[in-house]
Each structure stands twice: as structure tokens, then as C-alpha cells.
């Protein structure tokens, strides 16, 4: 018995698909002309009323599209003038789940960067992490969204305990954030919020508002929160991690 070549198999496959498509189209055309049981509702049928009941629940839901920011290991170049290492997370220009932050660039074009005084400790090149990205994936307006951290930098007030200190024993460490909206994701009163419209807010253990009236309408239902760290040259070797909590409050009309 002779073997069937791949070429023959491919031709047979294409032919089968074509026959199947043509058959389907012919069947659909003929079914419309039949008087028997077809599953179609005919216009001659006597009128009757059906009730379709749909219950839409209120769903207050937020999704964190980017939930970690790993800056990697750094040392600070002591030979430069400023001697402060500043790291900034990236602008999520065209990011996850179709969220698009390009139209309303409240970061004012200030994207991911590692200052000249920062020396990345790795043979691989530095790739800045994306900014936190929060999306209103429910169908309820959040009247307020806040940010807080488990640890303070000196810009957020020197903590009394090392447990709450981002860079231990440092007084020059600064933790800032900035908010960028997808479209008009937050209300216009957002202009008054530190961190919005290109201004800078301080990341601290206190709750700070990052968005008021957080929309759920597509194309304007996401915010990106850019994180900026400044480390002075006196920073001692240590691991520095911080846990951020975004709280979304649905306190809208009853």
C-alpha cells in the first residue's frame, strides 16, 4: 500500500473545509424556505408574550493589573555631585487589558528612569518595572480610592519604629507617587489631589486619596500609580520592601 504524502493530505483538508462551508451556507438558505419545524419563529405565528427576567447585581470590584514593582539591586555612585539615587517606575503607556494611558499623560512625559547616581548591580541591563495599575472592573462608582504603605520614607514622616521605616536609619529617603488616568477615570475634582495631574504625592502609612469618583465606564476606568524612590548616598546596605494597599470605597447613592 502506497503512503499518502503531506501534500495530498493538505489538499484533502482544504477540500473538506471548503465542502463543509458550502454545505452550511446551502443548508441555512434552504431552512428559511421550509415550513416544518426549523427552530425559526415565523412571522405568521400567533402573537404571544414572553418575559425575560434579568437581574444585574451591583458589583464593586477593583483589579490590580500590576501588583508588584521590583527595582532590583542598586548601589549609589558617590563620585557624582548630587549623590542621590532616584528610581522611577515606568509609564504604562499601552498596558494591560486594553487600558490606555496615552491620551491623558498626567506624568507629563516623565517616565521610568534610574538617575545618574544609581548603579545597577547586575550584568543584565536594567528594565524599569511598570507602575501599579488599578482598574474599576465592577459596575459601581468608587467615591474614593486611597493609597497607603506599610513603611514611611522621611518624606512621609520619620517613623518611630524601624518596622515602619523604608530605608532604615536614613533621613533622606523620599517615597513619592503620581497618578495617571485612563481618559477621565477620576472626576474633575481630582485636580485638587496631590499626585494627580502631574503633581507629586507622598507615599506614607497614612491613607492618601489617589482618585475621587473612580469610573467604571470602559476606556476611562483605570489609573496608573507611578512610584518614585530617592535614596541618599549614605544609604546602608539593606533590603527595602514596602507593601502598598489600595482601598476603594463605594459609598455612593443608596
Amino acid at each position: 500500500m502506497t503512503e499518502v504524502s503531506n501534500r495530498t493530505l493538505a489538499i484533502l483538508l482544504v477540500a473538506a473545509i471548503a465542502i463543509s462551508l458550502v454545505g452550511t451556507l446551502i443548508s441555512l438558505d434552504r431552512i428559511g424556505k421550509l415550513g416544518g419545524v426549523t427552530g425559526l419563529v415565523t412571522i405568521n405565528q400567533s402573537e404571544s408574550t414572553g418575559t425575560v427576567s434579568v437581574t444585574v447585581t451591583a458589583n464593586a470590584e477593583v483589579t490590580l493589573r500590576v501588583e508588584t514593582l521590583a527595582f532590583g539591586s542598586w548601589r549609589i555612585n558617590g563620585s557624582t555631585t548630587t549623590k542621590n539615587c532616584t528610581l522611577t517606575s515606568a509609564i504604562n503607556s499601552s498596558s494591560n487589558a486594553g487600558n490606555n494611558f496615552t491620551d491623558f499623560d498626567f506624568f507629563n512625559g516623565t517616565g521610568a528612569s534610574a538617575g545618574a547616581d544609581c548603579i545597577f548591580i547586575s550584568t543584565a541591563g536594567y528594565s524599569p518595572p511598570s507602575s501599579f495599575e488599578l482598574e474599576n472592573t465592577g459596575n459601581v462608582l468608587f467615591t474614593n480610592v486611597t493609597i497607603n504603605a506599610s513603611k514611611n520614607g522621611s518624606s512621609g514622616g520619620e517613623p518611630t519604629s524601624q518596622t515602619y521605616d523604608f530605608l532604615i536609619n536614613e533621613t533622606g529617603d523620599i517615597l513619592n507617587y503620581r497618578v495617571m488616568e485612563e481618559g477621565n477615570a477620576c472626576s474633575d475634582t481630582n485636580a485638587a489631589i496631590p499626585g494627580a495631574n502631574g503633581s507629586t504625592g507622598v507615599v506614607s502609612t497614612n491613607n492618601a486619596t489617589v482618585c475621587k469618583n473612580f469610573n467604571y465606564t470602559d476606556a476611562q476606568d483605570a489609573i496608573a500609580v507611578q512610584i518614585n524612590i530617592t535614596m541618599p548616598s549614605t544609604t546602608q546596605a539593606q533590603s527595602a520592601t514596602n507593601t502598598i494597599t489600595f482601598k476603594a470605597y463605594a459609598f455612593g447613592p443608596i
Binding site: 447585581t57 508588584t68 521590583a70 522621611s154 485638587a192 496631590p194 520592601t241 494597599t245 463605594a250
Partner: protein
């Protein structure tokens, strides 16, 4: 062919798993409105069904939170949800269990905030970074009405720029089960010394049980009034009773003040120089920064961008590299930049040598009296030493002389310890 296919499939699955692990979400869903409102029901129990919608793609622990003065009456059924598997919808009831009597409750609207929070934030790869978790919060509002005539007065006004018209809003909310036949409000505007600048009265209205009404707004021109904080005092008169509401109103000017800055730095190191900036504006000021110039020190420093809340103040640092600056006084010029305006402050910064700093850190010097006393003690010790030295010498000489006068003995002389 097959191994390659499975290898490819494994890579695709791994990629999906990795990309998916960077997303988490939390939600609360319920029928009708997400916020619930109800009246106090003595001894009653009301249940509101909710669901946690954990669309996260990893196992997550969730915790319930609640706060508010009536939070003790709000329970969760089941009380905890330790773990949710991906996509699992977790039903729970918010149960409001009222006490038998409202005797200890203040008439009015009470808000209990409750929500669900992710308990297991993702781990961070590397030594430096941030991880985030989310929480969704909503509320149950409980209205407590009184059997007496209880009405709450409200007064408010938005901050205004100097010279602008101040709009004063007044309101009355009945927390009574009875009809209030006549209610009106008198309003007084007071300065910081308590002096009455202006007085007004609203129209008279009837208020139904549990009803909230607003009186017609009051307009007040602030022309000729200095910027600052003023007090609004509203007295609600209703059926022979009164309730007073107070509010502050700010008349602001768009300026900032550079209040203080670090005036002493140490030579030979990088110093943090803190500048305190205060806002006199009635709105938050965003996108501010300041520059610090010093011609002698050849310094031109710029602060990070910062914001100030209305009438607030913040301390923002810059870093002055004094590694090559000799000790001395340096003139500085600090300029705050905000809302296309500038505020300048000139002053001096002293750079002192590190030795001087160390000297300052030493304990206080001994007083003159202590030095004199110490000298006297040392002198007395010296004199006594000399006296005893001379006396020993004398005794030694006498012993030698007495030995020379005695007859010679056949036994060898005992060894004497040498005197130093």
C-alpha cells in the same frame, strides 16, 4: 514532532501562568444598591446578602473589616473566609442585629463601613520593591429617629478668594418621628477675635419626620475683608428648641511663605537642608518646587516637586554637598515656585568645621572654682609627698649612722629591701 509540540505547549502554559500571576482583584457584589440603608429596628435582625468576587488567579486569603460607632451591631455570616480558590464566588451575609432599645444611641444617621481585604500580597523578587494588595469597602447606613423633637443644624461654605462672594449653605435634618412645625436659622460671621462681622436669617420652613431640608443660600461679599479663617455660626430654631452648627470658612490669597530652613551645616560632608514652606491659599497647591542659590558656595539646588494642602505646611529637603566648602557664612536665596508665582526668602547658612561640631558635642568645661580646688588638692599632695620623702631620707641617714656606731657581728647582715 510530538516532543516539540509538547515543549511549545508547556512554554505557552508557563507564559500564561506567569503573566496571570501579576493580576489580582477583589470585589463585593449584591442585589440592588451596594450601599444599604435602614432604620433602627429595636430587637430586630436584618440580613443583606453579598458575595466576594475573587477574580484573582491564585489562592488568596480574604479578611472582613468593619468600623463605625454601630459596628458592634454588624456581623458577618460566615464570620471569616480564610481562603478562596481562583474564580470561586464566596457568599456571605452582612447581619445587622439591633439591640432592644435605642436609649444609648444618638439620633441621626450612623454609618458602618465594612469591606473585604486581600490578606496575602504577592512576594517581591529582588531586594528593592513594592507589592500591592487591594481592598473594597462599602457602607450600611442606619437611621436612628427620636421620639422627641430632634433636628440637626448644618452650615458650610466653600473657601473663597479674597474679594469674592461667599456662598453660605444652611440645612436642617430631622431625626425626629414628629413633625417640626416651624424651623429657621440665624447665621453670624465672626472674625478670629469673636467680633460679629455680619448676621443673617433664613426663611421659615416646616420639616417632616426624618426629612432633610436646605434653606435658601446666603451670599456675603468679602470685599475689604482680610484673608484668613473666619467662623460661621448657625443657630437653628425649631418649635422652641435650638441647635447650633459651627464651620470655618477660609478667605485665602494665592501666596506661600518660606518659614524656616536648616541654618547650620557641617563641612566635609553632604548635608540635608530642610526648607519649611507654608501655603496661604484656600485650595491645595500642586506641582510646586523651590530653588536654593548660593553664589559663594556655587550652589544651585532644586527640590523635588511637591504639593501642599490648603493652608498647610510641609518640610522638603535638598542636599548641600559641603565636601569642598570651607567653614563660614554663606548667603542663600530660596525661591518657591508655584502656580506661575514666586516667593523669595534671603538668609544665611553657616558651614562649620567638623572639629567644631565635635567640640560642641563634648561635655561642658569645668568651672573656675573646680579648677582652683583641683590645683589646691594637687599642691597639697605634692607638699605631703615632699615632706614624707624628706622624712624617709632623714630616717635612713640616722639608721646608717647608728649601724656604724655598733660593734661588728659575726653573722652576715640581713638583706634590706631597697628603697626607691
Amino acid at each position: 514532532m510530538a516532543p516539540r509540540f509538547f515543549r511549545l505547549l508547556a512554554i505557552v502554559v508557563l507564559c500564561c501562568a506567569l503573566s496571570a500571576s501579576f493580576v489580582s482583584s477583589v470585589g463585593l457584589s449584591t442585589y440592588n444598591s451596594i450601599v444599604k440603608q435602614l432604620d433602627f429596628q429595636p430587637g430586630g435582625e436584618v440580613r443583606f446578602p453579598y458575595r466576594i468576587t475573587p477574580t484573582t488567579n491564585r489562592v488568596m486569603d480574604y479578611g472582613f473589616t468593619k468600623s463605625g460607632d454601630m459596628a458592634d451591631y454588624v456581623l458577618f455570616d460566615p464570620p471569616t473566609y480564610a481562603t478562596a480558590t481562583p474564580g470561586q464566588s464566596l457568599p456571605f451575609d452582612v447581619v445587622v442585629r439591633f439591640p432592644q432599645t435605642d436609649e444609648n444611641l444618638t439620633p441621626g444617621m450612623h454609618t458602618v463601613t465594612f469591606g473585604v481585604q486581600e490578606q496575602t500580597p504577592p512576594s517581591i523578587s529582588g531586594n528593592m520593591g513594592f507589592s500591592a494588595s487591594t481592598s473594597v469597602q462599602t457602607a450600611i447606613r442606619i437611621r436612628v429617629l427620636s421620639g422627641n423633637k430632634s433636628v440637626e443644624a448644618g452650615i458650610a461654605a466653600l473657601p473663597v478668594t479674597e474679594g469674592g462672594d461667599l456662598v453660605i449653605s444652611t440645612a436642617a435634618t430631622s431625626w425626629s418621628k414628629l413633625v417640626i412645625d416651624e424651623a429657621y436659622m440665624t447665621v453670624r460671621i465672626l472674625d478670629e477675635h469673636g467680633k460679629i462681622l455680619k448676621a443673617f436669617a433664613t426663611e421659615k420652613r416646616q420639616i417632616l419626620p426624618g426629612q432633610a431640608i436646605s434653606f435658601l443660600p446666603i451670599l456675603w461679599s468679602t470685599l475689604g475683608i482680610r484673608p484668613g479663617v473666619y467662623t460661621l455660626e448657625g443657630t437653628l430654631h425649631f418649635d422652641g428648641y435650638q441647635d447650633i452648627a459651627l464651620a470655618n470658612v477660609k478667605i485665602g490669597e494665592l501666596t506661600v511663605t518660606i518659614e524656616e530652613y536648616t541654618k547650620t551645616l557641617t563641612a566635609g560632608k553632604i548635608n540635608q537642608l530642610m526648607v519649611m514652606v507654608a501655603s496661604n491659599w484656600n485650595h491645595p497647591l500642586a506641582d510646586m518646587y523651590y530653588t536654593l542659590e548660593s553664589a559663594k558656595g556655587k550652589k544651585s539646588l532644586r527640590s523635588p516637586t511637591f504639593s501642599i494642602e490648603a493652608f498647610d505646611k510641609v518640610g522638603i529637603p535638598v542636599f548641600w554637598d559641603a565636601t569642598s566648602d570651607p567653614p563660614g557664612a554663606y548667603d542663600v536665596s530660596i525661591t518657591a515656585h508655584y502656580a506661575e508665582k514666586e516667593t523669595n526668602k534671603k538668609g544665611t547658612v553657616s558651614i562649620i568645621a567638623e572639629e567644631a561640631v565635635q567640640q560642641l558635642e563634648r561635655p561642658a568645661m569645668l568651672s573656675m572654682l573646680a579648677i582652683v580646688l583641683l590645683a589646691i588638692i594637687l599642691l597639697a599632695l605634692l607638699i605631703s609627698n615632699l615632706y614624707w620623702f624628706k622624712r624617709n631620707k632623714e630616717r635612713e641617714r640616722k639608721e646608717k649612722e647608728s649601724q656604724q656606731k655598733m660593734p661588728h657581728d659575726t653573722t652576715p647582715p640581713q638583706e634590706q629591701p631597697s628603697q626607691k
